[in-house]
Amino acid sequence: MGVIDLDGVEVRLANRTVLSGLTGELNGQAIGLLGPNGAGKSTLINTLLGFHLPSKGKARVFGLDTHKDRAQIRGSIGYMPENDSFIGNMSGVRFVRYMAELSGLPSGVALERAHEALFYVGLGEVRYRKVNTYSLGMKQLVKLAQALAHGPKLLILDEPTNGLDPVARQRMIQLIKDIRKEGSIRLLISSHLLRDIDETCDEVLILKNGRIASLCNIEEERRSNRSFMELETVGATERFSVSIRGLGCECATYPGGRIKLVIPDNIEARDLYVIASEQGVQIRRMNQRRDSLEDIFLRAMDNDQGRTANGSL
């Protein structure tokens, strides 16, 4: 049983197919939900929350049907919506307590956990202020606090860094990492910011036009992909490039001593330095990178045939 099971899920809204044929099992500790605007990320989240009934197929969260067992699912989910969504004339602590009580915590426990959650997300000092006096970053944090207070099994964060300045964003990312590290909560993070997903998730579901464009384990995907290197050299560049081809690298040379390499896993930068030293070539600059999530995302976007042709599953 996965955290989220999708079995041919199709969702139609206003006679328009928004999600189509979603099939897959998501098991990661932190699952990223990526896709361009209008890809169906929020619709998928709303389907998992039981707001939309799939017109075909089934979606399950922890083995529970998202429509039939929606009350049970909602009890074990913490949801942080994308847009402003709060009760502005309530104090932060009262708002979080209210949400915790709705999730089933007894009143006294809910109050205690509300205080704790607000301190945890860094709003302890402003918890008695009304929510509508909070800054945008604080509002994001209070939404996170209410999603956490009742101790959910799955935390759904819809664009958690939306509208945050770099410092607040970094703080939010760190909080998400801490929650992930704690281990008792699975995370589903929807974002169109690759960097956020890259920093926080270990599995990613990429949607495009309501279909799965890719579903992969980020780490495995990175490992299976090639490593690229750019060099800037001074000296006998041509002879140097012939030598490194001999190591098994694919190599292209450019004017000004620039060389681009695709290096196999068994070759390290040190090997290149050894050859350069032997041939009296100076390596002035070395830039190495593996396939980033951006590459994975762009490949998925390029693939119009979607998941089947992508072959990642």
């Binding site: 707001f51 402003d84 704790e116 939404k143 209410q146």
Partner: protein, 291 residues
């Protein structure tokens, strides 16, 4: 999780039954409604007529007072269905004022801050959400309608020199039923209209308008078509008829203002169904973040 440790820990304690979550909503809505000093002021104002009625009952059951007011005063001090009808009518219209103040506080604030996606992502249904708000409004209106009315009935039963309660039980039932029908209607109407109006002050006006404007339309219909069925749009007349019959008070001399009970019931039911439809449409539209 602990305040001083500032770390996260899962919750492993007991949870309340799902069915009781509606009461959480109702409790918070009730607290929200009564957090305003205006609500408290209105409540006190709404109880003033009951205080006057209480004094009237005291005087009516006091032999010295009765002797002092003499013959015509005796008629004035008669505690019967007509007396309680006046009490009920007064409280009912005050309930309209109260509902038009409280109802927008319960729904408009949630909608203005787009709170529904977060509220309904918890184990609470759309029906549960509306029902919780309904309970809060209904309870608030109960405090100024059937509860004081029945307390007056109990006081009259206690202070009357003759056995009075048993022979006038229909009044108690009528007070309860008449009040409950009216405040249930007001609650549904108030919530439905509040859900469609963004500003609280406007919502208050719209609730009043929804009760009195159709009465004007009904009067035009009656005059043009020379029929009395236009009265079915006249909520004050319909409710007066209904309360009268429920309490067993005498019919008005002017029979032109009389509407069949079945017609009243059908109209109230239709109005409630329209309100429920409006609420459902509005809340369904706002329950998710579209994206």
């Amino acid at each position: 999780m602990a305040v001083y440790k500032r770390n996260y820990s899962a919750y492993t304690g007991t949870v309340t039954p799902v069915a009781t979550r509606v009461l959480v909503l109702a409790r918070y809505a009730f607290e929200e409604a009564w957090s305003s000093k205006i609500t408290v002021g209105l409540f006190i104002f709404c109880l003033l007529p009951c205080l006057v009625s209480l004094v009237a009952i005291y005087l009516a059951d006091n032999p010295i007072a009765r002797a002092l007011v003499g013959g015509r005063g005796q008629e004035m001090l008669a505690i019967d269905a007509r007396f309680f009808l006046k009490v009920l009518q007064t409280q009912a219209w005050l309930a309209l004022v109260m509902a038009s103040w409280i109802a927008p506080r319960l729904i408009t604030l949630d909608l203005a801050d787009n709170a529904l996606p977060i509220l309904l992502s918890h184990p609470i249904s759309r029906f549960g959400y509306v029902f919780g708000k309904f309970i809060a409004l209904f309870t608030s209106l109960s405090l100024i309608t059937w509860i004081p009315c029945l307390l007056l009935f109990v006081y009259q039963s206690y202070s009357s020199p003759q056995p009075w309660a048993a022979s006038n039980l229909q009044i108690a039932v009528g007070l309860l039923a008449g009040s409950v029908i009216w405040i249930a209607f007001l609650s549904v109407l108030g919530l439905a209209l509040s859900s469609w109006v963004k500003w609280r002050a406007v919502a208050t006006g719209v609730i009043f308008a929804a009760v009195f404007v159709p009465a004007g339309v009904g009067a035009i219909v009656s005059a043009v078509l020379r029929t009395k069925w236009g009265l079915l749009l006249n909520v004050p007349v319909m409710m007066s008829n209904l309360w009268q019959r429920l309490l067993g008070a005498p019919e008005p001399i002017n029979g032109r203002l009389s509407v069949p009970t079945l017609g009243i019931a059908v109209m109230l039911l239709l109005a409630c169904l329209v309100c429920v439809g409006m609420l459902s449409k509005r809340i369904r539209a706002r329950e998710v973040v579209r994206g």
